[in-house]
């Protein structure tokens, strides 16, 4: 299968700190990949590089063959990459429905003047957007909360709403930044089903940052491990669990453990 996302030798430094060093990753179309690593390993920084929040110092990022270097976040969203945030960034004062509807804007074709004149074409499009937004909310079990302010939702629902909002931009690549953070085991179970379902129904490629290992191991087909901005391993969940470098990164080696004592 052709690669949808191709990250080639990307590096980024903040002053003297190398946040990401010579990082390469290739995601096959329709794959579900986990990105794990200890705190501060550079996972979110990598997401920020992929979505144009930061620009790489060196290296190249390709999405479906299109170069993303130098593009601003909204251009990358238009190119087909959507994301959620580790620290939830919803539009708190807007309703749940509006949070999703505003994201449909990216694929809308009618502009400001059509909205002001309320042309027939504009009204049709608005109706279609409202319908699509409601369908997404139903899929995510949020339909009953459609009229509520987003900030009034419980934490788990806010995380789900962020995924729904990202999907409303009709992405080809979905980047999920710790979607299970703060969820209880039941919610995590539902989330696991949801992620798999989203991948199949929306035909998106998913890259998932997650600290909950059981979730990652169960849902992801492949896993990439980062530590100190460097990719130290990549493979199937089974391979990763046995990888000596990964175990060392998470648990420390016998030597470094002895040195710490």
């Amino acid at each position: 299968m052709a690669a949808l996302l191709d990250v080639k030798g990307v590096s980024l430094s903040f002053g003297g700190l190398k946040a990401v060093a010579d990082f390469s990753l290739s995601l096959a179309e329709g794959s579900l990949t986990g990105l794990i690593g200890p705190n501060g390993a550079g996972k979110t920084t990598l997401f920020n590089l992929l979505t144009g929040v930061y620009q790489p110092d060196v290296g190249e990022i390709l999405l479906g063959g299109q170069r993303l270097n130098g593009k601003r976040p909204y251009q990358i969203a238009a190119a087909g990459a959507a994301r959620t945030f580790q620290n939830i960034r919803l539009f708190g004062d807007l309703t749940v429905l509006d949070n999703v509807r505003v994201a449909c804007h990216l694929r809308a074709t009618r502009g400001m003047w059509a909205a002001v004149l309320r042309t027939a074409g504009y009204r049709n499009e608005e109706a279609a957007i409202a319908l699509r937004a409601m369908r997404l909310l139903e899929l995510f079990g949020l339909a009953a909360a459609a009229g509520k302010q987003a900030k009034s939702l419980p934490y788990g629902q806010q995380r789900r709403l962020e995924i729904a909002r990202a999907l409303a931009t009709e992405p080809r690549l979905l980047l999920l930044d710790e979607p299970a953070a703060g969820m209880n085991p039941q919610e995590k179970g539902k989330l696991r089903e949801l992620i798999a379902r989203v991948r199949d129904e929306f035909k998106v490629t998913i890259l998932l940052i997650e600290h909950d290992m059981s979730l990652v191991m169960q849902v992801c087909e492949r896993i990439a491990v980062v530590d100190h901005g460097v990719k130290i391993a990549e493979g199937t969940p089974g391979e990763i669990q046995k990888d000596a470098k990964v175990i060392a990164a998470y648990l420390g080696t016998a030597e470094s453990g002895a040195a710490a004592e």
């Binding site: 979505t51 929040v53 601003r72 976040p73 909204y74 969203a77 238009a78 959507a82 994301r83 945030f85 960034r89 919803l90 539009f91 708190g92 004062d93 807007l94 509006d98 509807r101 505003v102 994201a103 449909c104 804007h105 990216l106 809308a108 009618r110 502009g111 400001m112 909205a115 002001v116 004149l117 309320r118 042309t119 027939a120 074409g121 504009y122 009204r123 499009e125 608005e126 957007i129 909002r165 990202a166 409303a168 931009t169």
Partner: protein, 351 residues
Amino acid sequence: MVTTPQAVVRSLLPLAVAVGVAVGLELLLGLLGFYAQKILFDIGVNIILAVSLNMVNGFTGQFSIGHAGFMALGAYGSIVVTYYGGYALFGDVMMHSTVTGYALYFVSILVGGVVAAGAGLLVGLPSLRLRGDYLAIVTLGFGEIIRVVLQVSQPVLEPSEMAAVPWYEQPWHLGRSLGFVHSGSYNTLGWTWTAVAVTLLVAYRLRESTHGRAFLSIRENEIAAESIGVNTTRYKVNAFVLAAFFAGVAGSLFGHQLGAGTASRPEEFNFMKSFEVIIMVVLGGMGSISGAAVAAVALTLLTEALRSFQDYRMISYSLLLVIVMILRPQGLFGTHEIWHLLARFRRKGTR
């Protein structure tokens, strides 16, 4: 896309109703005294100013504090059209209560709006690329620059002097700090409230559209807005230019109001005027169109009630603002709208 007659009707019906009301007001003119007319005029202009500023400060969450500057550009731009343009057209500078005269006034309102919008684009493009308080600083400076520039313009040309000055230099003769005294008091309540209706309609339709929600998303969370594909700079500039346009229209109306020796003085468009509009927006609730409109009505009436204490007006405004910020920091309406509350009320009623 086939445009059916019904679609056209649905698109324009609210406007037609509003113009009907405005014309009704116009016909009532005879019954209203000059005082009542003046208050209704002030209310209308303030609604336009508050609702348009709300598009920037309320919708996109930026902080513009130079609205009076755009109003001044609109006022002077439109007066130039009716005064110097009128001279070119009629050969005198009197007011012409003819179809041509009012057509000229209509054009002048649009010119006032466009001049202000153009300035909005010039000011907005560089300053809206930045996040934070830069816009506040730039717009504050802009408003003051406009006022000072108007003060150092040339005296207004008398008809006898027109021939000596080439047409392209005439618009610079704006009457210095004395103000642009002219006789073109074209504006009436019909014009004023039609403009109010257009402003409210545009604001309402934008607010309730996918495009308008993109404005709101910038206010709510700029990083998330970018992540779902909102070109935040472009949208901020759009909102800013649109707001400047309506401020310009308000200025055009203001510049042609009925009054002894109809004049626009630079002093009318000082920082205090900008501040007044900000108070209306904050008081009404940042982001609420109905809130801005209601606050504009209330504050205009309050100003009238306190006319005898005029010198202390800003003190009472400031006090009012402090009290509201303590008791209801989100403003009267918060981000809600009257029509949202009505819809909720109706749903409850049918249950």
